[in-house]
Symmetry: C2
């Protein structure tokens, strides 16, 4: 349909937000709105400026005959800090402590508003990585994994504790839970991961990192690669950690004597800061 | 920050899309952009027109001093039909048949693109219902439930097959699986549902409807109400069905002799059509 600039801006914004990390050709928009490519380019400049001012992501434009535009969602440092403060406020409550050093987060992880914001934050950290899939372990990590995958436009792969009839043939490995030292099993459908795929592991809670380590091994078993690891809450004083180089949004400390807890920021801010100094990336 | 109309349109579109089913006051936008309410009203008229032309949802504006605007996401009939055709194309493959009359959908449900579109479609059907929560049974229904809940701005409640240490005290009921006739258990944390809450049940697959029926009983156990039921794929020739008045997107028939399957549209189009004729709602 033929649209004026104002209508085009609204529709293009909606379209770009719903197609993150996908290159959309100028011709597509030009045909969609029956408008000259030069007008589309001007529209995109306005959108790019607005996205950058509001820190909701980058708009990368590629010039030339095959030129296109790609929206890469991200979260600004200020919004990230505000989100972490809100999560801390929600989580720092005595009655959230559960037996075994766990934290009750079901209500927080039940709210799409939080889950989607956490997903945008984690996706921001890996904005420069080429990803092919997001992996998580059932059950609590699933919503977070989808929130991240939505922003990165890649599929989600859910690891299970036992094989299900609805998943066809599977690959399974045994791993040792880092904190309980018990042998456990994780299972993934054979068709779910390709060789050389670059996989981002996402989970809600990490103690010693046994589950993370297990997922790393499972990824290797498929001939795929770990592109990164991110966790919402890590337990601070759990030593030794079985994994490193992971992103954590929050850190939980349990004060056993007082039966109380504290939550502080994880290392996510440092990871976000690396984007502003690309030379610090691979230190 | 002070913004011109073009910048305001981009930012307001993004803001509205990210805050569905929430009333945002004109004052909020007026302060956010340091612009007169009359200008904001004109912006909203442009956005409303664009959303309606593109069939991506309604923009309801409330006049007066306490005036505000509310974005209600929905999917147009044409886009819905296209989505169903694409899903049918993906699913109608012989090697998707699994033992026990199940359908392999893990790859399709792994793609946020499909999951989020399905979520928008289901949310469209219930656009006029007051909802307080979306409920699903672990594990496969979880991504669909979050996709619906995101569009409706309500929390997700995940029913489990056994109680977990990380969820505190729980309520559990027994139910009879409609197709296998076995007694099974479903469990929900006590703090997860309030009395009188209006709950939309969402699941990926339905045979006789035993799980759906179980969730209905669980909702009653909490003194809450069933606001609706929606399922991605229902098995066509499974009789008798234990539930009725549910929305199904697709219907699976298995041709046992030929070891083959067919997928046809469910009843979702009829439900969507009811919005255009509100008198037909309660027939």
């Amino acid at each position: 349909m033929k649209l004026k600039r104002s209508g085009r801006l609204v529709d293009m914004t909606e379209y770009l937000l719903r197609h993150p990390h996908q290159v959309i050709s100028l011709s597509y928009f030009s045909e969609r709105y029956e408008s000259a490519k030069s007008s589309i380019s001007e529209d995109l400049t306005i959108i790019k400026e607005s996205f950058e001012t509001q820190e909701i992501g980058r708009l990368q434009t590629q010039a030339g005959a095959t030129g296109g535009v790609c929206y890469m969602p991200s979260m600004g440092c200020l919004e990230a800090e505000r989100l972490l403060v809100r999560l801390q406020g929600q989580m720092t409550k005595k009655d959230r402590l559960l037996p075994g050093g766990y934290l009750y987060m079901t209500d927080i992880l039940g709210k799409p508003e939080y889950v989607n914001a956490i997903g945008r934050l984690i996706a921001s950290v890996f904005i420069n990585e080429k990803l092919d899939a997001v992996m998580t372990m059932e059950t609590k990590g699933i919503p977070l994994a989808y929130a991240v995958a939505t922003q990165c436009s890649v599929p989600v792969v859910v690891v299970r504790r036992s094989s299900k009839v609805t998943e066809g043939s599977t690959v399974s490995i045994n791993y040792i839970s880092g904190s309980s030292k018990r042998i456990q099993t994780m299972v993934l459908p054979r068709r779910s991961l390709k060789e050389h795929a670059r996989v981002l592991i996402v989970d809600d809670f990490m103690k010693a990192g046994g589950t993370m380590k297990g997922m790393m091994n499972l990824i290797k078993e498929f001939g795929a690669e770990v592109a990164g690891m991110a966790v919402l809450v890590e337990k601070k004083d759990e030593r030794p950690k079985l994994v490193d180089h992971y992103v954590s949004l929050l850190k939980l400390s349990i004060l056993e004597q007082q039966d109380d807890l504290t939550i502080e920021n994880g290392n996510v801010s440092e990871w976000l800061a690396m984007h502003h100094d690309p030379h610090a990336m691979k230190k």
